[in-house]
């Protein structure tokens, strides 16, 4: 999924892959999107650390598939947790959407954990380690035909906030409405996977999709191709349940109906949102959510500096406040991380996102030239411009170290020469007979992006390139780099997987099948061996085998030098002193809302 957050939290952000970030300039926020993330080494669970956090060495978070017993509620109690009170949140931005079908950004998914439930979901243990379990379903699903057919059975006792039972009709309707014309922003995996999905127009004209079959409490999906990880796909917030009876189509976006432990009491867009208890929720049906506070109050409109200062002051209701979007402001990060008392209230987490610079394969066709770009890249300077080691770590791979399948390699000697190796790059250019090769680099407008672009230009020109930097309006950046026929050789982007394997990392960005106007294979890499490897890996049912295959694909792409990996993201969150059990939700890359409690 595209990462939307660092644009706001981190100045280098203007250069990442994001769509909505450009809208909200100083920042909307959405944190990164993937299903994985881990706390930094030595700080698992979000405790403080003595030095700048490290991505390298952070634990890779494998998310296993749980059993039926794992899927059975209630959720394990949090040691020392007490019921009651209110958990507050200080946020820079509001939710763009509350209709699950329109939710893609992971932080929006995280905020709605207390009110929305899908067929599957992620159960967290005391340290934040996740397991895929059945949420509204009795287990994490049963597949047949190697993954072409998937069945899920609805749990008994699930109720909407009005007391009505969650029905099989609701299940079918949830998935059929994904095809409606007003659903334009959510992910389109299920729509693309289901047989007949390309022609189906949604349920509002009275037609059903034949590839969704409902028998009693069991729903079966027939897919075009085998998808061994379809149950992970369904854990995305976009596939949370919607009651057929209360579906108000596009208006549902403003007042969703809950089947979780809380419901929306009030929402004032851009200002605040309050969740209160849903008395029809039965904890025995829910293995994922604890429901300790009586209320959640999300307050929007706080700039990073303002929210950080409030958490530093730690007064009044701010003592019960946690961040969802708002990381520690870059201006305060040194102050916070060098203060022993404040550090106790910092949750540090490594994200699954990697920021990188795809190279346009249709324009830079010579491998040696692409390798020269990689060798010449000024990683260290860019890291400094971007805020230093507290916020990012230099990347040498497409996979983030916390993503299953990650394999450490460094094909272009970045670890030894983080500032770049212009001599080696120049030698490669000479070999290719391309000294003076022109490179057009596209980046979005922002102060930091300009500094970054200048550093890149200097480094590449030292290596023998002729560089033209082109600043592109942020509102059209992705339209322009997303065109097949564009005039750029190199552009800033970033990506993190939507669920914990390589498919949602590599298929969207590196498969030749996903080249087209508006598609996310910006490098336009269309290498037969990579395509074949992606297709093969996506069919492997064995998780360990599949992860190994995805790790190899990472290396294959880097051998083709189709991209310059830039950095992995480290996030630091400060929170109030009276919030209990602040752990990282590795499934939603966010503070685990459903595990918090208000200390007495």
């Amino acid at each position: 999924m595209p990462d939307l957050s660092h644009h706001f939290h981190f100045k280098a952000g203007s250069m990442s892959f994001s769509r909505r970030n450009f809208l909200i300039a100083t920042g909307v926020a959405a944190a990164s999107t993937s299903v994985l993330s881990a706390c930094s080494s030595g700080s698992e669970g979000g405790s403080s650390q003595d030095k700048a956090p490290k991505v390298t060495g952070a634990k890779t978070v494998e998310i296993p598939v749980g059993t039926k017993a794992d899927s059975t509620g209630p959720a394990p109690e949090v040691t020392g947790a007490v019921k009651g009170g209110t958990i507050y949140s200080l946020q820079q931005f509001d939710m763009d959407h509350m209709d699950p079908a329109q939710i893609y950004v992971s932080t929006e998914g995280a905020i709605t954990v207390p009110i929305m439930r899908g067929l599957t979901g992620y159960k967290l243990d005391a340290k934040g380690n996740a397991t895929l379990v059945g949420d509204a379903a009795t287990d994490a699903g049963t597949m047949k035909d190697g993954g072409k057919t998937w069945s899920f059975t609805l749990k008994d006792g699930l109720k909407w906030e009005d007391g009505a039972e969650v029905s099989s009709d609701d299940l079918r309707h949830t998935f059929e409405r994904l095809f409606a014309t007003f659903v334009t922003e959510g992910p389109r995996y299920v729509q693309d996977f289901l047989v007949g999905g390309d022609k189906y127009k949604g349920p509002y004209e009275g037609k059903s999709l034949d590839s969704i079959e409902v028998d009693g409490k069991t729903i079966t999906f027939r897919l075009k191709e085998a998808r061994a990880d379809f149950n992970f796909t369904l854990a995305m917030r976009a596939y949370s349940l919607v009651p057929k009876k209360h579906d108000t189509k596009e208006k549902y976006d403003k007042q969703p109906i809950s089947c979780g432990p809380y419901k929306v009491e009030s929402r004032n867009i851009g200002k605040s949102m309050t969740f209160v208890r849903n008395e029809h929720w039965d904890p025995k049906t829910d293995a994922i959510r604890n429901a300790y506070p009586d209320k959640y109050l999300f307050q929007m409109g706080y700039e990073l500096v303002a929210s950080t200062d409030r958490w530093i002051a730690d007064k009044g209701t701010d003592q019960y406040a946690v961040p969802i979007f708002n990381e520690v402001a870059p201006e305060r990060i040194a102050q916070v991380l060098t203060n022993a008392e404040l550090k106790k209230r910092v949750l540090t987490a490594v994200d699954t996102v990697t920021y990188y610079w795809p190279i346009n394969m249709t324009r830079i066709t010579d491998l040696k030239v692409r390798q020269a770009i990689n060798y010449a890249w000024p990683h260290q300077q860019l890291q400094t411009i971007g805020g230093g080691a507290y916020s990012q770590e230099i990347a040498t791979t497409i996979f983030a170290p916390v993503t299953p399948g990650y394999t450490k390699f460094d094909l272009y000697g970045v670890d030894k020469k983080p500032g770049g190796d212009p001599a080696k790059a120049k030698a490669l250019l000479k070999e290719a007979g391309k000294v003076g090769q022109k490179l057009v680099i596209a980046y979005q407008q922002s102060d930091t992006a300009v500094k970054t672009a200048v550093a890149i230009k200097n480094a590449l020109e030292e290596a023998g390139f002729t560089v033209v930097n082109k600043q592109v309006d942020k509102s059209t950046f992705y339209t322009q780099i997303g065109k097949i026929d564009n005039d750029f050789d190199l552009f800033a982007a970033g990506w993190s997987p939507d669920w914990p394997n390589g498919y949602s990392q590599f298929y969207p960005c590196w498969s030749g099948k996903n080249i087209g106007d508006g598609r996310s294979n910006y490098a336009q890499l269309n290498d037969p061996s990579v395509n074949k490897a992606i297709d093969a890996a996506s069919q492997i049912a064995d998780v360990a085998e599949a992860n190994k295959a995805w790790g190899n694909i990472d290396k294959m792409i880097m051998e083709l030098a189709a991209v310059v990996p830039d950095y992995h993201k480290i996030r630091n969150y400060l929170y109030g002193s009276k919030v209990g059990n602040v752990i990282w939700d590795s499934a939603n890359t966010c503070v685990a809302l459903s595990k918090l409690y208000a200390k007495k």
């Binding site: 769509r19 007003f182 334009t184 596009e250 867009i269 200002k271 409109g301 508006g518």
Partner: protein, 326 residues
């Protein structure tokens, strides 16, 4: 008076119409695509076309503008949201919320901020200016003049953060700036806005002190004031009945413009203190390429200035009988 008001209101509507057309044209003068912000990952041309249709931006710019105008006066039909009753200023591109509702929702914050600050800076600024004028050349005059020079050279984003750091975070004398509707909790409304009022007032007070002082000094040296004194009128009578009345004209003019500007959006103040008013809405709509919201906010800002100019003109006639509303 009625004829004057009718004529000015018609003129104001024409101005607002022109402003809306210019804003519309300027928005599209640079290459931008609002539909992209609503188009998810792997944004296909088909998906993009559907979004444009839903948002009502699948027409030429003049046609879009015509539909927008039609919506304001007669309502309009949106493919994505159904029928929108007049006055329909459209739906936000960012979150599909009606523009009119959003502005009405944010307006109380900005009105509270503007009028509250206005009370503070008028009382302090005009008061200090009067004292300085009365005590010309003495310590009080020099102190007020110096303080106003210092105040007018300060910036809200600087004073605001400093004040928050010391008076809220360190000393705890004031509450965190926040917005609570007056109807919900008058005490929280007052305490949440007190610091923004004071900071905003520091900047504006300086201007009013200087202006009041200079106007009064000028008036006090006029022949008619000397004549009044010569006729034996008391000092207070001369000061308030003659000099003060003569000095009010320019102050009222500037106050009208200041108030209109503040209501149009105290952008930096709202941003500094994280207040959810019109100013923050304006910034957000620019960042999000949210044309309908941008149009709404621009019209409100322009309307506020036009409205207060009309009020100022009317008040002028009441203050100074020599001026006739013609």
């Amino acid at each position: 008076m009625l004829r004057f008001l009718v004529r000015r209101v018609i003129g104001a509507l024409v101005i607002l119409l022109i402003i809306s057309a210019i804003t519309f044209w300027l928005f599209y003068a640079v290459p931008r695509d609002p539909a992209m912000m609503s188009c998810g990952k792997n944004c296909t041309p088909e998906n993009l076309a559907q979004i444009r249709k839903n948002l009502g931006i699948d027409h030429s710019i003049p046609v879009q503008y015509w539909y927008w105008l039609k919506g304001v006066f007669a309502g309009r039909d949106y493919a994505g949201y159904g029928y929108c009753d007049a006055p329909c200023f459209g739906y936000s591109f960012a979150n599909n919320v009606p523009v009119f509702d959003t502005i009405m929702d944010r307006l109380p914050t900005t009105l509270s901020l503007a009028f509250g600050a206005a009370v503070v800076f008028l009382v302090l600024g005009v008061g200090a200016g009067m004292l300085a004028a009365l005590k010309q050349g003495r310590f009080l005059d020099k102190f007020a003049s110096s303080a106003s020079l210092l105040g007018s050279s300060l910036q809200i984003y600087f004073v605001g953060y400093i004040a928050m750091y010391y008076f809220v975070a360190q000393l705890g004398w004031l509450d965190q700036p926040s917005w609570t509707p007056f109807s919900d909790d008058p005490v929280a409304w007052f305490s949440g806005l007190l610091l923004p009022w004071l900071v905003l007032a520091i900047i504006f007070t300086a201007n009013y002190t200087r202006m009041t002082r200079s106007q009064l000094v000028e008036q006090l040296s006029e022949d008619y004031v000397r004549t009044a004194r010569a006729k034996g009128l008391s000092r207070a009578n001369v000061f308030f009945r003659f000099a003060w009345r003569g000095a009010m004209g320019p102050i009222v003019t500037v106050f009208g413009i200041d108030l209109g500007t503040l209501i149009g959006g105290a952008i930096i103040t709202e941003q500094t203190f994280s207040l959810p008013g019109i100013g923050r809405l304006a910034v957000k709509s620019v960042d999000q390429s949210d044309l309908p919201m941008l149009l709404g906010v621009t019209l409100l800002a322009a309307g506020a200035i036009v409205f207060f100019n009309i009020i100022v003109d009317a008040v002028y006639a009441l203050i100074d009988p020599r001026i006739r509303l013609a």
